[in-house]
Symmetry: C2
């Protein structure tokens, strides 16, 4: 079985880090990730650098990457909040955009300053124009397993909004555990409903490891037949609602578990660990990935060719 | 379903920490853990303080705890490497001892300075005498999922040695992923064999979170019907073979996941988080537990009374 990994460290990760990386360093990081086998890469967000300084220069990044030899096999995407963002995406020839909706009203208002309905109206126009211009679109749906403001989130709402993102023209929905509260039982329940509604090719799980449950939640998803996940190199990112907490699940940790289970990804764990080491120097802090810290366990291989018994 | 947690932070955790806690602070920690609902508590090790200074004063600790009101409902145990350790245990009226064997020759030699066979001969005499004195015995088997020196470990060897520990008089075997390399698929394969050989009441899983997979491995175990796990408050501990890596899975993280899945433990998550905060001050470093850092997600409850849909 092959598992698809979408690397979101350069967008979801970095936008939640205090430390701001230059576009040069981000391009270098993107190249290293592509070299490590990343095939789905979110490069940045076309948002105002006044509000999100970490994403400044995203258009330059996408422009530099699109068509460059290093990114030949990489599906590049950028987050686009509105029509103006789409204009930028079209200008720099981004092949894929992402839109970002919320499963709860409170987070929608807090994060994108409008109600869920207003955001869907706005996105519908963006997606329509993007698709007309042959761009593909990924939809994010955040706070699907619990909301920092509203607490528990109704599964029926998540299912309905996810289905609307597909109807709108998204080819997949990334179901976000934005504050990292999900447990495997909840994942199995919601995941089964999502699979019935969207099918496996349109369902991606986006777990944060804020409370350590991300790999267990990925296992629960795999058991259901979900094979597409978002992750962030080195565990870049944080949780704005829990200051010292960690954020996105680390790509290295996901790849370690999957490979040792005998599941294939396109990614090279050694190259990811090397990228982690390089990145810690650039971020000037110890990053949360556990495999990044511990490394492989020599003399243990990661992919086992036979079942020892 | 009720899940049994054995708290091993005061032994397996602290013995792998550089910072040495006084017996007074360790007793205070033990009382806080008992107050948080810990019912199975490994208090220390009767080993030479020359070799393991972190465990110095373990006899005083056990003596202070046995019979004290705070520990009325707590099953206290101490690690005992040999007959001399058992003498100490008997002197301070420890009700339960633990012995520590290895699934690989290299680690046995490195860790306890004898072959596996020699260790089993020695332990057989210790356990026989302990049982005659009405002490109960837990057996640890380390390096069951991979060895820092030998790589992959034969499952047939793990099963055979675990069975021998039970035959010898242990009432349970704690199956250790000592270097934190296990993946859920491996856990399912070995766990199913262990259940067939030992039964669920004698099987405890002891995961380290060195590579982030511990909660996924606990989930895989639960799916098999294994309901007994070791954990360490705040994730105390480390990995001697990966200097900056974390060690035992954190009790708070385990309890968070279990409770949110609707599984009962005797433990109180808020009291554990409070103990974590207190302990960070004593250890003078940030401890690895993710739930310890992030806390509960207010306004989300941990145990959900109904399925939101």
């Amino acid at each position: 079985m092959k598992v698809k990994i979408t690397e979101v460290g350069l967008r979801d990760g970095l936008q939640n880090e205090k430390f701001v990386l230059s576009t040069d360093v981000r391009l270098e990081l993107a190249k290293r990730l592509a070299g490590a086998g990343v095939r789905r890469l979110e490069l940045g967000a076309f948002v105002s650098p006044k509000w999100v300084p970490q994403m400044a220069g995203s258009a330059d990044l996408v422009k530099a990457a699109v068509g460059a030899a290093e990114f030949r096999d990489v599906q590049i995407s950028a987050l686009v909040p509105n029509e103006r963002g789409l204009d930028e995406a079209l200008q720099v020839r981004a092949p894929r955009i992402a839109i970002f909706a919320s499963a709860t009203e409170s987070f929608s208002l807090k994060n994108i300053n409008c109600s869920i309905e207003e955001s869907f109206t706005r996105y519908a126009a963006v997606v329509k124009r993007a698709r007309r211009q042959k761009l593909s679109v990924r939809g994010y749906l955040s706070m699907c397993f619990g909301c920092a403001f509203e607490g528990e989130v109704k599964e029926s709402v998540v299912i309905r909004l996810a289905a609307r993102l597909i109807e709108m023209g998204c080819d997949e929905v990334s179901i976000g555990d934005t504050i990292g509260v999900a447990d495997p039982k909840q994942v199995r329940r919601l995941g089964a409903k999502l699979l019935r509604e969207l099918g496996p090719r349109r369902t991606t799980m986006h777990f944060h490891d804020t409370r350590g449950t991300a790999l267990a939640n990925i296992l629960a998803s795999l058991d259901l037949g979900i094979t597409s996940f978002d992750s962030s190199i080195a565990g870049l990112g944080g949780c704005p609602y829990a200051p010292s907490a960690t954020g996105n699940v680390a790509t290295e940790d996901v790849v370690y578990m999957l490979e040792r289970m005998g599941l294939k990804t396109d990614l090279n764990l050694d190259a990811l660990i090397e990228t982690n080491r390089w990145l810690q120097g650039k971020m000037k802090r110890e990053l949360p990935s556990k495999v990044g810290r511990a490394g492989r366990a020599h003399p243990l291989g990661v992919v086992r060719s036979s079942d020892p018994s």
